[in-house]
Symmetry: C2
Subunit: 213 residues, 2 copies
């Protein structure tokens, strides 16, 4: 069995958000898909360990912000590599409240959903949501997971089903000089890492980077 | 509510297949996503009206063939615009039996799954499958749904959740001379439609095409 086959499934990059007692919270996700067209429903898959999972179960509602190719990649780090239990993620991004839910405005658009069913698995909950609100912010190209990996050179948060352990990632790398962010795994390529460099994904400074082979 | 927002979700293009009393059958799908990594599970969404749905329920197993950018686009038509009840779809494509399941060899690779749970919706079943076998056929680029629409210029089968009624599709078209396949909706663009032209999606001849505005 070659588990790399799973990497050939195609995804977008999303922020799934909801309320936590009046405070906006959410997490990065790539597992979202439309299920039915009338009524429009979508399914999202959220790890049990994500604080967002508990909050969606409590509010019964969630929003999906569909990231665009030109969305600030730090959004992915903000929502993917920190826990909403400890950090006020939405204080770090531009957002608005649409159809009663917090959504990222630096995106293609959003879907606001009401949970109508769910399916539990060992590690993730699949929430089935009926779309109650939806809007586009202009006409932007959606960011695909492949684009994120190839162009933004990002990495999956550990809770993502698409997460690949570090050793396997390393094998896929080339032989040029590379510096890896020890917080989120973002890889900088170049002659030297500038002293004032900040990780475009999680915002950490050059001191958090280490040279990798 | 702008339903076009749903079109910004990203997908791949797949053939979901299984057995029908010893005969291979399947259908085109774009709704497939990984749910958990250990054990590896994926979810696929199949319309109740697809004959494949009934066959998966009976066998408790399915395979997902992940189409590549260079997969013959007629596979999409063969599996998307005909019913496996009436037609022996697999007789029209190259396939092999892997991990006891029929898979399309003109693809990136396959995932063979055992159904471990399911979630019913009004029109679709979400099958949760544990991956029991997986292999890559070389290193090909996976076909995304966006690529299929932009490059192959294909259309969604009516049972797909991403299906958009014909009038709305027309609005999105430009003003050059176009001929549309009346069977699958594939649009040919050019000065004139050659008399011996065959639809690359469903294989129908030029007589099944009509000029559209």
């Amino acid at each position: 069995m070659n588990k790399n086959t799973l990497r050939k499934l195609s995804y977008g990059v999303y922020v799934v958000s909801t309320w936590d007692n009046g405070r906006a919270t959410g997490c990065t996700a790539n597992s979202a898909m439309q299920i039915t067209s009338s009524p429009a429903t979508i399914a999202v898959s959220i790890n049990h360990d994500n604080y967002t999972n508990k909050c969606i179960s409590e509010t019964g509602r969630f929003a999906v912000s569909i990231l665009a190719e030109d969305s600030d990649p730090s959004i992915i780090g903000t929502f993917g590599f920190q826990s909403g239990k400890d950090v006020d993620k939405f204080s770090q991004v531009k957002y608005s409240v649409e159809d009663h839910m917090p959504v990222i405005t630096d995106s293609c658009g959003y879907l606001v959903c009401e949970v109508i069913d769910k399916l539990e698995t060992e590690t993730h909950t699949i929430f089935l949501g009926e779309v109650k609100g939806a809007e586009l912010f202009g006409d932007k190209e959606a960011m695909t997971y492949a684009y994120y990996h190839k162009v933004v050179k990002g990495k999956s948060p550990k809770n993502a089903p698409t997460y690949i352990p570090e050793e396997e990632e390393k094998k896929a790398e080339g032989t040029t000089k590379k510096y890896k962010c020890t917080v989120c795994g973002y890889v900088y390529e170049g002659e030297e890492l500038p002293a004032d460099y900040k990780c475009p994904i999680c915002g950490m400074g050059a001191d958090k980077f280490e040279e990798i082979q």
